[in-house]
Symmetry: D2
Subunit: 338 residues, 4 copies
C-alpha cells in the first residue's frame, strides 16, 4: 500500500486523479493540499466526492507529509507553483509525478522562452523523465520524478511517433489541428470559458503560440534523431471533455492505408491503452477512459492521422496513474480499465 | 429620430439591445457608457458588432449626455448601480427604461429585504411604471421612467395573469418551476457558470430565495386585487438562451383545456407578442424573438401552464424596446419582428 | 462466476450494463442477443467497447443460451418485446432482470391502459418483484424475476418515500417536475431527439400522459398503504445524461428542514447509494455513478424535494447490477463504486 | 414586389429562408411546396413560424405556380430532386436559385463521380451561374438560374481566393480543416446526428470523400487559372450552427501578417458581408448573420487562414437572398442586416 499525497486539490485533474486512486488497490490517499486559506473538505470542493472520501484539504507542509509516511506525491499545481513545491518532497526521499509543465522541457531556455519565467529547479529538471509510457516506459519505471505529459502533446506525439520512427514523413510542414473540450482550460472561471461565451461556438486560440508546441517537438525530435517542426493549432469546442487531433503530414514514400495501419499496430503492439482502429474515431468513444484511439488515412498524397483521447484521463490523471503503476511495479492497467 | 444612450454596455442585455436598436428606424445610438477604466470600442467588447457600429464606450457623465441631445436612456447597469445613475438623467429631462431590478418593487422595504440594501431613490421609485406592456401598457406610454421587468417574472406573470384575472385558481400553493439558459446569469465569469460546471448538468439554485419572487407576487397581487403567493424554483439549464416555466395551480372550479385556451386567447387578444398555442411549446421556437409562447393543460385536477420566452429578448432587451415604442409612439412591434 | 446473457444489445442501457459487468469479478458475459438481421460484433455497435470484449451479437435462442450454461439474463429489450422473450428463459430455470416496463405494473389492466396492449405473460407478472433495492431489497434477493424500475420513477419514489412512510405529506396534489437528458429517449433516431431540435431548447413532453406515472403511484401507494396521486411532468434537457426531479408536496404538519433531513437520513441509513446531502444537488455530481442524491427544503409552507441521478446507471443498468448483486449474494456495491 | 415560391419547405434552409424573406420589403411568399403526402401548415412543420405566416404546404405543380404569378423560385430540395423540379420552372420563364448541389459543378462527369448519379439537366447546367456573390457578382445579376454555393465551400473559397488571386501560395497541399455545427447535416434524423451520439463528442467524417471537395477546387481553379488541389476534412461539432475553417497553405514568397490582412481587405473592399478582422474570429460572432469573418496568421512559414460563418445563413439561405437581391436589383444587403 503506497501512501500518497496530492498537491493542489481544487482542479479538475486532481478530482479525476482522486477518483482513479480511490479504486486503486495499492494506494492510500493520505493528504490533499490546497493553497486556499480555509481548509475545505474535499466533498465541499468537489460535491461528487460526497461519501467517497473524508479528507480536509491542508496547507502544503513537506515535513508534515514526510512525518505521516507519504511515499509518493502527485502535483496538480499549476506550472510555476509546482517547481516551488516538488523539490522539497524529492529531497525528503519521496517520488513524484508532476502534472504541470514544469519538468517537461529539458532545455530551461526553451522553458523560459515559452513560459515567460526562468526555471528555478535545474537540478531536478535534469533528472526528470518525460512521462509518456509508450515512448519512455523503461525510464519511467526507475525515475524519482516523472513529468506527466500535456493533453494536446500526447495526441501529437502518439499520433506521429510511428510515422517518424519509420522515417515515413517529412519533418517539416506537419500540421496538428486540435479540438479540445473546455475542461482543458482548467477550473478557474474566465470570460473565454464562461458558458454563454463558448457554448454554440468554435474558435481557434493561441495560434502559433501555444506552449504545448515545444513539448511536441521535443519528443518527436527524440524519436527522429533530428529536429522536427510542427504547426499546432488548438481550438475550443463546446463540450466538457475530449481532444480530437487531425494531423497532416507529407509522406516521403508512397504508403497505403493498410500499410500505415500495420505500421501503427506494430509500433503499439505492447501498449494496452492505444487502440489502432479502422473506423474514424470519436472522442465520445474514449471519454472517461485512458484509451488513445487512432487511425490513418491517405488523401491527396497526404497522410491524415485522426486521433483522440479524454483530455483529463488519458491527457492527465489517467496517464499519471499509468506512470505510477510503472514506477511502483503494478500492472500498468491497475485502476485504469473503466 | 430619438437620440438614445445606453448605460452599461458590456453585458448581454446591452449587446442584444444594441442589435435591436441598430435596426430601429426611429433611433440613433449616441452614446454607450461603461464603468471600465479604459474606453474600449464596442466591437472590442462585443466582436459580433464589428462593422455594425463605430462607437467607443465612455464614462457615465449626465451633463455630457444632455449636451449631446440624448433624449432617452436605457440602463443596463446592475441593480444598485442603476439607481445611482438614472436619477441624474431624469432630472435633466430624459426619459428612461431601467433594465435592472431597482425600480420594479413598489415597496422599498421589500426591496431592502430581498436585495440587502436600502433603496436610495424613493422619489423616482414612486413614479416608476412596471414595464410589462400586456398589463401596464397605458401607463407605460406616458411614463418618464419604466422599470423593465425581470426575465423569470414575465413567464410567471404572463403565464398566470389570465387565470387570476378570471378568478380561476387558488391564490396560494402556486408553483412556478422555471428552467433558464445560462446567459440569464450575466456575463461576469463565476464558477457556477464556468462551462464545465454547468454543461451536462441541471440543478436548482436559490430555492425559496430568488429575488424575482416578490416581483412576481407584486404584479399578480395587483391583478388579483389581493395577496398572491408563489413558490418559485429556478433551475440552470445547459443552453445559452431561453426560459421555460412550468406552472402548477389548483383551480377553483372545473375548467377544460378548451375553455382555458379560450380564456388565454381572449386575455391576450391585443398582445402581438403573446402566442397562445395548442402544442407544447419549446424555447427554441421563440429563441431570438420577442414572442412569449404559452399553452395550458389540466392534469390530475391541476392546471398546468407551460410558457417560454427568450430570456434576453422578450425577457429583457426586446420588451425594453417594446416599452420604448409605446413610450415614444411607435408601433409596438417596430424593430422587434425577427 | 455467473454466466450471463444480455438480450437486446444495441441500446444505451445495454452498453452501460456491459461496461459495468466487464468490471464485475463474479460475472462472465456469455452472450449478447440482437434483433438485427446481421450479427454485428459488439464493438461495431458500440465503438467504445473496442478492445474490451470480443463477442458477436446473436439471434435470441433460449435453448442455445441454456445449452451454454447461461444462468442469468438481463433483458434490455423494449417493452412488449421483453415479455415475449423472458418467459422462455425463466422456464429453463434462469433468473432474470427485465429492464423494460413489462413486469413493473402489478395490475395488467393498468399496463393495458398506459401501454396500449394486453399483457401476455400474466403468470410471471404475478411473481415479479419490483426492483427498487431501497424499498424491496429482501424480496429482490430471492426473486426469480426482477422488474427493474424506470429512470424517472426512481427519483419520484426515492424522493417521496420517507415523507410518505412518515405520513408527513398530503397524498394528493404532489407535483413531480422532472428534467431529463436525451439518452433517456433511447438510441433510435427521431426528430425530437435530432441534435438541432433538442440542443439549445427545453420543453415538456407527454404532459399528464407519461407511462411512468402509474409506476410511481404504485410504489408510493404501497408505502402509504393507500392511494397516492402524483402529477408528473417530464422535460427534455439538452444534455446526454442525468435526471433532476423537483418535487412539491404539502405537509400535514409543520416540519423544519433539519427534521426533514434527519427523516431522510434515517430512512436511507442502510442504503449505500442514496446520499442525503445538505447542498442543492446537481446531476453532474452523480453522473456516471449509481448514486441517488437528494435534499429537502421548505418554502412557502411547501416541502420541496430536490433529487437527481444518472438516468442510465442509477436509472437503469447500475440499479440492475445492484439488484443482481442482491439476487446472487454479492456485496450490493460490487462493480458499482465508480 | 416579387412573387416567390419555395420548393421543399420542411428543412432548416427553407425555414431560415422564410424568416429572411418575411422581412424582405420586395418579396411576397406565394407558395411553399413539400413532398409530404399531407399538406401541413407551415407553422406545424416549423412551430417558430406560428403567427408569422399562414400558408399550407402544397404539392409541387409548376403550372399552378405559374398561374399564380410566381416569378422566382428558391429550391430547398435535396440534390437529385432539385434537378427534377427546377427545369419546369425555368421553362415557364421563372428565375430560380437552387440551394442544392445540382447545378454547382460545371462538369457533369465530376457530378456523376462525386454524387453517384448522372446529371439529368445538362441544358440548364451549362447556363447556371455559381452563386458566390464576391466572385461571380456580375454574372449572378443577369442569370436565370443561380447555383447557390455549399456551406463548407464558401469558407474554403472565400478564405483562399485572395491568396490565390495574388499568386501568394502553392496550389497543392492546401489543407482545409473544417468544423461544422450539426444543422449542416439537415433535418432528417440519423444515428450520427442523434443527440446523445454527437453531443459531448467531436469526430471527422467522410475524410477525403466529402462532396464539397470538387466544388471548392472548381472555384479556386477558376481564380487561379490553373488546377488547385485541396485536402478537405470536415468535422462534426456539438453545436447547432456555425462553420469554422482552419486553412493551411504554403506561401510562394515571404509575407507578413500585416501584408496579408491588407491583401484580404483590398480583395473584399466592396463585399459588405466579408469582415476581415485582426482578432481570431469565433462562430458565435457571426451566428445568425450573413457575415463571413476571416483573419490570417503566419506560423512556421505556413499561412494559416481562420474563417467562419453561420452555416444556414451565410452558408445557405442568407447568401441565397444576397443573390436574389443582385438578380432582382435590390441593394445587396436588403433583409440581411441582422
Amino acid at each position: 500500500m503506497t501512501k500518497v499525497a496530492i498537491l493542489g486539490g481544487s482542479g479538475y485533474t486532481a478530482l479525476e486523479l482522486i477518483k482513479i486512486l480511490l479504486r486503486h488497490p495499492g494506494v492510500e490517499i493520505v493528504a490533499v493540499t490546497s493553497r486556499q486559506r480555509d481548509t475545505p473538505r474535499l466533498a465541499e470542493l468537489h460535491p461528487s466526492l460526497t461519501g467517497r472520501i473524508d479528507l480536509r484539504c491542508e496547507p502544503f507542509d513537506p515535513d508534515r507529509l514526510a512525518a505521516r509516511g507519504v511515499q509518493f506525491a502527485f502535483s496538480c499545481l499549476p506550472h510555476g507553483a509546482s517547481m516551488s513545491a516538488v523539490p522539497a518532497l524529492l529531497q525528503r526521499g519521496m517520488r513524484a509525478i508532476d502534472l504541470s509543465a514544469d519538468y517537461r522541457l529539458r532545455d530551461p531556455n526553451v522553458y523560459a522562452q515559452w513560459y515567460g519565467e526562468s526555471h528555478e529547479d535545474l537540478a531536478h529538471l535534469a533528472q526528470a523523465v518525460y512521462g509518456l509510457p509508450e515512448l519512455y516506459g523503461d525510464d519511467i519505471a526507475t525515475a524519482q520524478l516523472v513529468a506527466n505529459p500535456g493533453c494536446y502533446p500526447q495526441t501529437g506525439i502518439l499520433g506521429l511517433a510511428p510515422l517518424i520512427a519509420e522515417r515515413a514523413i517529412e519533418l517539416r510542414h506537419i500540421v496538428i489541428d486540435s479540438k479540445s473540450g473546455v475542461s482543458g482550460a482548467g477550473r478557474t472561471p474566465k470570460l473565454t470559458t464562461h458558458f454563454p461565451e463558448c457554448n454554440e461556438s468554435v474558435s481557434a486560440y493561441q495560434v502559433g503560440k501555444h506552449r504545448h508546441t515545444p513539448e511536441i517537438e521535443q519528443a518527436l525530435s527524440e524519436v527522429a534523431g533530428e529536429a522536427v517542426e510542427v504547426l499546432f493549432t488548438p481550438h475550443l469546442i463546446p463540450m466538457n471533455r475530449g481532444i480530437f487531433s487531425t494531423i497532416y503530414a507529407v509522406p516521403r514514400r508512397p504508403l497505403t492505408e493498410r500499410e500505415l495501419l500495420e505500421m501503427y499496430r506494430a509500433y503499439y503492439a505492447r501498449a494496452p491503452f492505444v487502440r489502432v482502429v479502422e473506423h474514424l474515431p470519436a472522442t465520445k468513444d474514449c471519454s472517461g477512459t485512458n484509451f488513445f484511439d487512432v487511425t490513418v488515412r491517405v488523401v491527396r498524397e497526404t497522410i491524415v492521422v485522426l486521433a483522440c483521447e479524454d483530455n483529463l484521463i488519458r491527457g492527465a490523471s489517467g496517464v499519471a496513474v499509468q506512470n505510477f503503476n510503472r514506477m511502483v511495479g503494478h500492472d500498468e492497467r491497475t485502476a485504469l480499465l473503466p
